[in-house]
């Protein structure tokens, strides 16, 4: 198994303490900023700022490496593929057969790659510093129906459990001499039935039990539910919110009111 089932790790940094709603806002606004910026240089500056945040979030090297591996691969892919499909502009740098690789297209590719890098890294920082529970709490606070929030929280919660069960099912079938990657395509897909059926049965049984558990804990008995942990905006959250708004607002003003090329 390679991936991390839960990206969040418990730390005590200002990014961890920040109200999750402010973090969601920050991701949204800084993403908009990445859209507004068109000059490669400024985008690189923005990416550096985001990477600085990643460092400040003190995410473990393992997780940061895991996350950046995908981001960097994706960025390289965009840079390489963009000029192949965008052939406008001059001068032509070189031609491969009928393909003309133009200089502006190469720059546009790099710009888009950095932009995507900004988006992805922002999301990773959010996931590194916000527990799934807080994220759901923030969404509910922002107006998501509690039922949907709970459903979301439960599905997050069960991802690792499901992963383990599927591993166990695979082991149980391998102990019956099942070889998943052997034989014809027909044979292989038949083999996967032996994993799929127990998995689905397990999922249905779990859902059934879960429904009973929720009911036995009076879920939905009262329409007006209260919360054990309320998330509340503190002074520092308002400061952070103001900073985030300014980070978007100032460059936007410069560009659209004063016509500065950024």
């Amino acid at each position: 198994m390679t991936g991390f089932l839960d990206l969040y790790s418990e730390k005590d940094t200002f990014l961890h303490r920040l109200d999750p709603r402010v973090k969601l806002l920050a991701v949204a606004l800084i993403s908009v900023l990445a859209f507004i910026l068109t000059e490669l240089l400024y985008l690189v500056v923005l990416l550096c700022f985001i990477l600085l945040l990643l460092v400040l979030a003190r995410s473990s090297y393992g997780k940061a490496f895991f996350a950046l591996k995908f981001v960097v691969r994706f960025m390289i892919l965009i840079t390489l593929l963009w000029p192949l499909f965008d052939r406008s502009g001059a001068p032509v740098l070189f031609s491969i057969g009928p393909l003309d690789i133009t200089e502006p297209a190469v720059w546009r590719g790099a710009t888009s790659a950095v932009r995507v890098g900004c988006f992805a890294t922002l999301w990773y920082i959010l996931m590194f510093t916000t527990s799934q529970r807080d994220l759901v709490r923030a969404l509910v606070k922002l107006g998501l129906r509690f039922d949907y929030g709970l459903a979301l929280a439960i599905s997050f919660r069960f991802i690792p459990t499901f992963g383990l069960t599927i591993e166990s099912i695979k082991d149980a079938q391998r102990a019956r001499a099942l070889e998943l990657d052997k034989g014809s395509i027909l044979r292989r897909s038949r083999n996967y039935v032996s994993i799929l059926v127990p998995t689905i049965v397990y999922a249905l049984r779990t859902a059934d039990t879960l429904a009973l558990t929720l009911q036995s804990r009076a879920y939905g008995a009262f329409s007006n539910r209260t919360y054990l942990r309320e998330i509340r905006m503190r002074a520092s959250d308002y400061v952070a919110m103001t900073v985030v708004v300014l980070i978007l607002l100032l460059p936007a003003l410069a560009k659209y009111i004063y016509g500065v090329q950024i």
Binding site: A175, R176, A177
Partner: protein, 283 residues
């Protein structure tokens, strides 16, 4: 002294030599286990939760590969064989039968394993029929296994493993969730398999099962074997068992309490205690 792998006897089916295993998460589950299992033994591997007994069992059919030391199955390095190849020799019944049942009928379910090891049609049928007969499932051979009771589902899952006719049968907590009668029936069948020559490795923390069925007990604690003896010997050291988070069956505990009036401490069954006490009266 650690026996050498080449000093191999005919009867030795499984040989772990200083086997170590560390999970990816860094948890050291086996810290050097040396264990010899001979043909026809009825061995119980006991220990508290997290003592490494299931990790140990998963090495016997190659589901896990030792990160240090060796595992030999029938004198061959297990690491050179696939799980499918080892499954012919070592059958492993998982604790939860629902992790493996998927077919439309009990008969199909039991045929899955033999078909996987590449046997031809008539042989698959012969083995499936035999396994169904052994596990007393003939009446329900055409029923869908997923709709049976837990006791029957567990019997189907065992049938589906013994249909491959392995020489060693590993059972992980086979009586969990069964009532007393279902458990007794199941253990009687397993005893019969052992009498017919199948080596049984029972993983459990149900000490009553161990006392009544196993011939040899391996106690595990913190990834190490802390005791390897015959069943009687295993129950004489209460302190060691307690440290291993185990409790002997009530009748053995009672015998320990009665030892001051001359009852021997290695009582395993109520019958033995009665015999011991009435013999005392005669004197």
């Amino acid at each position: 002294m650690i026996p050498r792998p080449d000093a191999d006897s005919e009867d030795r089916v499984i040989f772990l030599r200083d086997a170590k295993f560390t999970y990816e998460s860094g948890v050291e589950a086996l810290k050097g286990v040396t264990l010899v299992i001979d043909k026809g033994e009825y061995l119980a591997v006991v220990g508290g939760n997290g003592s490494g007994k299931t990790t140990l069992a998963k090495h016997l059919n190659g589901l896990l590969r030792p990160t240090g030391g060796q595992v030999l199955v029938m004198g061959v390095q297990a690491s050179t064989r696939t799980v499918a190849e080892l499954a012919r020799v070592v059958g492993y019944v998982f604790q939860n039968p629902d992790h493996q049942l998927f077919c439309r009928t009990v008969h199909d379910e039991v045929s899955f394993g033999p078909a996987n090891i590449g046997l031809d049609g008539p042989e698959v049928k012969r083995r499936a029929d035999r396994a169904i007969a052994v596990m007393n499932l003939s009446d329900i051979r055409d029923r869908p296994p997923l709709s049976l009771t837990l006791g029957l589902r567990r019997r189907v899952s065992i049938a589906s493993v013994i249909a491959m006719e392995p020489q060693v049968l590993v059972l992980d907590e086979p009586t969990t969730g069964l009532d007393a009668r279902e458990a007794d029936e199941l253990m009687a069948i397993i005893r019969r398999l052992n009498d017919e020559g199948t080596t049984i490795v029972l993983i459990t923390h149900e000490m009553k099962l161990v006392a009544e069925h196993a011939n040899r007990v391996v106690v595990m604690m913190d990834g190490k074997v802390v005791l390897d003896s015959d069943t009687r010997g295993a129950f004489s050291d209460l302190g060691l068992l307690r440290r291993s988070k185990l409790l002997p069956p009530p009748v053995t505990q009672l015998a320990h309490r009665l030892s001051q009036i001359g009852v021997s401490k290695d009582i395993l069954t109520p019958q033995e205690l009665v015999f011991e006490l009435t013999r005392g009266d005669d004197q």
